[in-house]
Every structure is written in structure tokens, then in C-alpha cells.
């Protein structure tokens, strides 16, 4: 079986916009969602800024019942809001409690770290205080690796595969590729794919100690996330969720669904932590093989890629990443596809990053624009040769047809997704 896979619905919870419309507006305006987070200063982090989605309670109440006293704004809530939006955006109705399972629909929806809010605020303090018997029934389902997909399965009455994947910062993009392949091979007709990450300081603390977070822009948060900039000094931690409804083309056409884009192909691999790769740095050969592998899977040539939504986190790795793209696509700096980094506005949303950034890429394809990659007016010297191809301000791009989106993660893991504007 070789079914074509299309995107028919999207939902997003992003630091610069909860909901597709707000997110698109923020992307067009180049609006940062990075704010001062008092708790980080209080806890003596080096980085006091982060991307925390706003308006979560209100968004939750749009789709679900009014929030009770036990409401948590965690990765699961972000995921449920994004999924409910994506489902409705696809023209589908949330099933009621008496519905039968939908055997043809599944989910691959992961996170980088599980629900750290529950672990840090409830599980550890209560168990340490000898109150294990009073933890209640919800700790397990919130901290289990598959917590997010379990909640989504319940929301949508899913009867097909329901899995949470995890591959660090590659998680969101990997989920979309895995889900697309499941539809391509005929194992499912429809999949909800994406990633979610909570905004707990405890999840971010390890990165702070590694000295990989931005620490020099605590007084000017919106300037803090600086992919490709000479003054980049680490990434800004972010949180949120991105959700995409993927469908078999025939199923989508049959029900007259609005089609945003087609998933042409993808590739997932690992650099083996060799040849210059390590737990925290990518093997350049692995990255290039991943990009080339995605093109091969899409049966497309490098010259067909119009734009790249990079991983580009604002660390030392950005110049290497841009060079890897040029080498993988076999082009000179002046001929490289247009490049932008959504992280410049939302920070690095870790396990949700690839999903939120894919939503941004699909909006760009569908609406014909490229969002600005902000805070790189002082390009890194090694990136200067690519200057004309870095999208520094908003561009109308009606001719934009194909975007490559890649994500790379700790463990030397890579994923690359090729998406094309839908035209009948």
C-alpha cells in the first residue's frame, strides 16, 4: 500500500498564541512569546525567561467543561486543547461518552519529559512525607510515558494505535512522520500527530545547569531567543503543544475535507553518537543522511525544496546546522532555500517544538508567506554568506510550494519532514 497522506486539521498552544488564528497572527507580526518568568529568578536559574503559553484555562473551557479546583496547566492539558482544536478544525466532531471506538483512527503524540508538574508538586513531596496512600488515582496516568496519548485516545475514542513517542527535541517531528507512515502503509486511515511539553522549571533545570540556556537577556525577554545570531548564547526554554490531523487522501476527499498540505515524505535516524556526534551534539553525517533520506522518501530532488524551517535553537550548533543543510541539499550559500526559525519567537519547546513548528510551516504553505526569524539582525559570521536566504522580515511568498522541516535531539537523533502545499 502506498496511500497519499494529507493534513486536514491543526491546533496549537504556543507561547506566542493559543489557537491557530492567534498563532498565525503572531507569526506574521514576528511577535515573541518569550516572557520574564519570576519563578526562574526565585529558584536561582541562570535563565529567567521562557515561553509559557497564555490563556490556557479559557482555551480549555472552550472545548471541555469548566475547570475545577484540581486543574493543572500541564503537558496533557496543552495536548488536549491542541488536539480538540485540530479535530474541530478538520471538520470532525468530538465523540460523546457512548460512542464506539474509532478503529481506523490513532495517535502518535509524544513529549520530551513527562508531566513534571505532577512529579514535582505532588508525587515526590507526598511520597517523601509518607502520604503515598493519599496520592489518588491520577498520578500514574499523568506520569506514565504514554500519558498524553492515553488522554487523547479517551478524548477521541481512538481504536487504532495510541502511542506516545519520545526522542528529545526531535519528538514532535518524529511523531508526524511515524503517523504519516502508518497511514501510507494502510494501517490507519486517520492519525492525530504532534507533541506537547509542560512549562515546569523542574523540566528546564537540567538544561540550565548544562549552561545551554540563554542567560544574557533576562532584562529583555523578547530579545532572548536569537537563532543564527552572533550574540546567541543558548536557547530559551518553551512549552506548549502542536497537533495535526493526518488523513489518507481518499478518506479526506471522500468527506470533502479542507486539505492544507500533503506530507510527501520523511526520515528518522540517529548519528550513533560517533563521527563528531555525541549525546548532545549531532553527527553531521547523520543529519545530512536524514535530510537526503527524507527527499528520497518523498521522491523529490533537492532543487524542489523552497524553504527550510530549521531546528535552529540559538546555540553554537546553528552555523553547523545551516552548513549541513547546504551540504545535504548540494547548494551554494546563495542558492540555499529560504530559512527561518520559529524558535526565535517561541523559544525551544522541546518535545513540542517539531509539532508547533510544523504547524507554522503548514500555515506558511497554505497561506503563502514566510514568517520572520527575529533577533538575527547580527548574523553569526559563519551564516553571513547565507544572508539573502535568511528570512529576517515577513515575506509574502505565493509561489512557496515545498517546505522541509527538521528537528534534532539529544541522543544524536534526527527527523526531517517534507510537506507540500495542496493543489488539486
Amino acid at each position: 500500500m502506498n496511500n497519499r497522506v494529507v493534513i486536514t486539521g491543526m491546533g496549537v498552544v504556543s507561547p506566542n498564541g493559543t489557537g491557530i488564528d492567534k498563532f498565525e497572527d503572531a507569526l506574521r507580526q514576528g511577535r515573541s512569546g518569550i516572557r520574564f518568568i519570576p519563578k526562574l529568578e526565585e529558584l536561582k536559574f541562570g535563565c529567567w525567561i521562557g515561553g509559557v503559553p497564555q490563556g490556557i484555562k479559557e482555551a480549555y473551557e472552550t472545548y471541555f467543561k469548566s475547570v475545577g479546583r484540581n486543574f493543572i496547566e500541564g503537558n496533557i492539558e496543552y495536548a488536549l486543547i491542541a488536539v480538540a482544536e485540530a479535530w474541530r478544525n478538520a471538520g470532525l466532531t468530538l465523540p460523546d461518552e457512548d460512542a464506539v471506538a474509532d478503529w481506523d483512527t490513532g495517535t502518535v503524540f509524544g513529549c520530551g519529559v513527562c508531566d513534571m508538574d505532577t512529579i514535582s508538586q505532588k508525587l515526590v513531596p507526598m511520597v517523601n512525607a509518607g502520604k503515598t496512600r493519599r496520592l489518588g488515582s491520577m498520578v500514574v496516568e499523568r506520569v506514565m510515558g504514554s500519558g498524553i496519548s492515553a488522554y487523547i485516545a479517551g478524548l477521541l475514542a481512538l481504536g487504532n494505535q495510541a502511542t506516545s513517542n519520545s526522542s528529545a527535541c526531535s519528538t514532535g517531528t518524529e511523531a508526524i512522520i511515524e503517523a504519516a507512515w502508518r497511514i501510507r502503509t494502510g494501517l490507519a486511515k486517520r492519525m492525530v500527530a504532534g507533541g506537547a511539553e509542560g512549562s515546569s522549571p523542574y523540566a528546564w533545570s537540567g538544561f540550565d545547569s548544562m549552561r545551554v540556556l540563554s542567560t544574557k537577556f533576562n532584562q529583555t525577554p523578547e530579545k532572548g531567543s536569537r537563532p543564527m545570531s552572533a550574540s546567541a548564547c543558548g536557547f530559551v526554554p518553551g512549552a506548549g503543544a502542536g497537533a495535526l490531523v493526518l488523513e489518507n487522501l481518499d478518506t479526506a476527499l471522500e468527506r470533502g475535507a479542507r486539505i492544507y498540505a500533503e506530507i510527501k515524505g520523511g526520515m528518522i535516524n540517529c548519528g550513533g553518537q560517533r563521527q563528531g556526534g555525541s549525546m548532545t551534539a549531532p553527527n553531521p553525517e547523520g543529519v545530512k543522511r536524514c535530510i537526503k533520506g527524507a527527499l528520497a522518501d518523498a521522491k523529490m530532488g533537492a532543487d524542489e525544496i523552497d524553504a527550510v524551517n530549521g531546528h535552529l535553537t540559538a546555540t553554537f550548533a546553528d552555523p553547523r546546522e545551516v552548513r549541513n543543510w547546504a551540504e545535504a541539499l548540494g547548494c551554494n550559500p546563495a542558492d540555499i532555500p529560504l530559512i527561518n526559525s520559529t524558535k526565535s519567537m517561541i523559544g525551544h519547546c522541546l518535545g513540542a517544538a517539531g509539532a508547533i513548528e510544523s504547524v507554522a510551516s503548514v500555515l506558511e504553505l497554505h497561506k503563502g508567506f514566510m514568517h520572520p526569524s527575529i533577533n538575527c539582525e547580527d548574523l553569526h559570521p559563519d551564516i553571513v554568506p547565507y544572508k539573502d536566504r535568511i528570512v529576517q522580515s515577513f515575506m509574502e511568498t505565493p509561489e512557496l510550494k515545498t517546505i522541509a522541516k527538521a528537528s534534532f535531539g539529544f541522543g544524536d537523533v534526527n527527523s526531517c519532514l517534507i510537506m507540500q502545499k495542496w493543489e488539486r
Binding site: K65, G68, R69, N70, E97, R134, G136, S137, M138
Partner: protein, 84 residues
């Protein structure tokens, strides 16, 4: 504390675990927590824990196993308060 007051307080706790708010409207002492209100059976333990906190009583596992209806919960709380 009157039976009505205990009932209201118990319903306030149960409310959090009911997905369909419509089902709460006509709840009485005879309403079954799992069968009528469609509360997930795993959540009974959360309702018990919250009731223990709200009424400052201890409900052991054997007592908890007897709770099927809202009234069962109210009666156990009443008994614990009387014993206290």
C-alpha cells in the same frame, strides 16, 4: 452538620469527576456514583480522599468498598462524624 449539608458537600466533591454536567442536575441520595453519574471507577479513591479532607474523618478500605450511591457516601460520613 445536617444530612443536607453533608450531601451538598459530597456532591461538590463528586462534581469534579463527572464529565457530563447534565447528569448532576437531578442527583439524589439514590444516585449511583459509577452507574448513573458515569464516574470512572478508579476515581472513587479520589472522592474518598477528598471527603476525608473535607470532613476531617478517616474512611478505611472496607467502608470505602460499600460506597455505591451518593447516599452511601453521605451515611458513612455521618457515621464517622457521630463516632468522632
Amino acid at each position: 452538620m445536617s444530612t443536607t449539608e453533608i450531601f451538598d458537600k459530597v456532591m461538590e466533591i463528586i462534581k469534579e469527576f463527572v464529565k457530563d454536567e447534565e447528569k448532576l442536575k437531578n442527583a439524589t441520595m439514590d444516585t449511583a456514583i459509577i452507574d448513573d453519574l458515569k464516574v470512572n471507577s478508579a476515581r472513587l479513591v479520589d472522592i474518598i480522599i477528598e471527603a476525608e479532607d473535607a470532613f476531617d474523618v478517616e474512611i478505611d478500605d472496607d467502608d470505602a468498598d460499600q460506597i455505591k450511591t451518593v447516599g452511601d457516601a453521605v451515611k458513612i460520613v455521618e457515621k464517622k462524624l457521630a463516632d468522632a
